[in-house]
Amino acid sequence: MILVGIGGFFGALTRFYIGKWIVSAYPWATFFINITGAFALGLLFALNLSNWLWQLCGIGFLGAYTTFSTFGFEALQLIEKKKSWQAIGYICSTALFGLFFATLGFLVA
């Protein structure tokens, strides 16, 4: 449980600082974070890590690094700014690329 928390601490911070680096009107930061996180989790899952390493890196760090709530909130903000096509593009590309990169991580392992 502590390991999950420690992973979560650093996962959330990494996400926060990447969000500060990548500044744009389109939510590229969250897109980048979620896609890379999906790839890494697919990779770690396929590697069959020992229990403690999975709790620290998989559930803790990568679980906290990627985020679903920000993704949903940003999608709604695009809709509210009347950028409906961007919103649809953001939603579909995140979902599909997430799946694609998770598969890629799986295969690379």
Partner: protein, 120 residues
């Protein structure tokens, strides 16, 4: 510094809460119900919080970006969808994705709407 610490501590408890819930809510019939409920609840709360408190103080960032950001997860969602596909559970994979994405958007709308109504 204050914000960094707030986000980190929020992340700690967000990840721990998610893990605890996933231990409680075991997946019924191989459907990832835990991650789905976590993501939907998190979407609602984040939208409510960020709409109510437009001023991003360290506390708001700690709860929003830290706790709720770490509580919800995208990577687990993707890997779980992949696992369903690998087991040839196409319908489950499709409905899981649809419920997460559409449900998440719906929860964000409800959260935003409630926050705005309260402020009026």
């Amino acid at each position: 510094m204050k914000t960094t610490l707030a986000v980190g501590i929020g992340g700690f408890f967000g990840a721990v809460s998610r893990y605890s819930i996933s231990l409680f809510l075991t997946n019924t019939g191989s459907f990832p119900i835990a991650t789905l409920s976590i993501n939907l609840v998190g979407c609602f709360c984040l939208a409510w919080l960020f709409t109510t408190f437009a001023n991003r103080t360290p506390l708001v960032l700690g709860i929003g970006t830290g706790f709720l950001g770490a509580f919800t997860t995208f990577s687990t969602f993707s890997v779980e969808t992949l696992l369903l596909l690998e087991n040839n559970e196409w319908m489950k994979a499709f409905s899981y994705s649809l419920m997460s994405v559409m449900g998440g958007l719906f929860c964000v709308m409800i959260g935003t709407w409630l926050a705005r109504r309260r402020m009026k």
